[in-house]
Symmetry: C2
Subunit: 247 residues, 2 copies
DNA sequence: TTGACAGATATGTCTAGACATATAATCGTG
DNA sequence: CACGATTATATGTCTAGACATATCTGTCAA
């Protein structure tokens, strides 16, 4: 954060736009530790002078940094580098096909079971709904280069997702189908570890007692549960990677 | 998304600001599924007319939605609801004390080992650095209500974090110390499952062969690795919860 | 000492324009 | 019909102001 203005207005072609430059400069100063948490960022009018631009431009840069939780803005006081409270990592879970093909491996899919039926009380409990409607229960396996990659055990609420009544899950995996047919949802993931029981071990091709990573995911939209899924991964080979960012 | 303008300019006191209102209205239309992925959002000039405001105000609302990856803006074409490509969940990992006390349980900490020494080649490999410097190797255990909660095995690069040379990790857990003394970092988490070996089982108070959730975290700042930590949790009792959001 | 009140000040929101730029759509030509 | 050039259009960035609002600071009186 030591460069002065020199915008040049004429040959401002290749450089990113000015507000992005400002944003980037400040971000760099924070991320390198030059400006520690609590440090006050230069006032808007100082940045205006330094970059030779209007207040709106500076403000746009600062607003984006605030939206990204990198800084905190306080009226009359100024803007400050935020103190990271926790390590928050963004865990990106693509659908299985994308995840496997991204690794450069061939994707395989096998449907074990797909039953459409009236919801049992166990189903209702799992979906967190009260009234009994119709559901689809699906069990399937994903493989990478013909080696079992994960097994999936899923329940879809047909009252919330009526289109799933006619979908053919023998052809398209339910996760992928849902991702492409059901718009914008919220989800909660629970990650735990178990050892493989007999059924799981057989389906995953591992020994009984081998470690498995388990992900339970509930997906809903506006307070309606759409689907509940449990995924088992062989724990010694699979890794969930979550990158970025202190905050 | 059906209200018309009626800003009233005079009594615009209690309502949130206009751009937030616009942002919220659009967000709601997307999240309820009313506007599915691919749907084109009204043009800026239409929103200007609907809300009776200037283009900058509309633009600010749309820019924030774009920054949050909820919409995609394309010149000449308009703005569109984004298709969720993956389920991305934000995994918040507080330091251990905060995590345990947040559960309403009493926090306990026990230091097993804390050695400051020149880095071995194994240390360098783990930290991903080439040259050999000094490191701290720490092994400790966190407990909740006197029951083992997690064991921690950590390496800190003293060249990158010289303040750690004098820190007393018998008093303060290293994770908590780092969070409060080392500003703004980036991190990569790898989550996997293993079965407890003899040493781990003894430290965690579980049976040999019991499932364990393992989190490996590398933390760095501007390409310098600061610390590498491996955490073992008893897999059948501990759960990592990641909430939110489709995208 | 304390509390109420009046500035001072930095950010928060907003306007009515401007020009730049990417690209969808159209038109013309071979 | 295919393809390249042109045009129209929606967004991208930016300005030079404006008034609102939260909050820190200092002053003056009870």
């Amino acid at each position: 954060m030591s460069l002065t203005a020199d915008r040049g207005k004429v040959e401002a072609a290749d450089r990113p736009t000015l507000y992005k430059q400002i944003r980037h400069d400040i971000e760099t100063s924070i991320l390198t530790g030059e400006w520690p948490p609590g440090h006050r960022i230069p006032f808007e009018h100082q940045l205006m002078a330094r970059y030779g631009c209007s207040r709106m431009t500076v403000s746009k840069a600062l607003s984006e940094l605030a939206q990204a939780d990198l800084i905190e803005r306080r009226r009359r006081a100024g803007s400050f580098v935020r103190r990271p409270q926790h390590l928050s990592a963004v865990l990106k879970i693509s659908d299985m096909r994308a995840e496997i093909t991204a690794l450069g491996r061939s994707y395989g899919y096998q449907l074990f079971r797909c039953v459409r039926r009236a919801a049992t009380s166990a189903d209702c409990a799992r979906l967190g709904v009260r009234k009994t409607g119709k559901v689809v229960a699906i069990a399937c396996r994903h493989s990478a280069d013909n080696v079992p990659f994960a097994i999936e055990d899923r329940l879809i609420d047909l009252d919330s997702v009526p289109e799933a009544t006619t979908a053919d899950f023998a052809v398209e995996p339910p996760g992928s189908w849902l991702l492409h047919h059901v718009p914008w949802t919220e989800a909660e993931h629970t990650i735990s570890a178990v050892v493989a029981d007999e059924r799981t071990a057989a389906a995953l091709g591992v020994a009984i007692g081998a470690p498995c990573l388990v992900i339970d995911r509930y997906t809903w939209r506006s307070a309606r549960t759409l689907t509940a899924v449990r995924l088992h991964y062989p724990g010694d080979t699979h890794r969930l990677v979550a990158r970025f960012k202190g905050g």
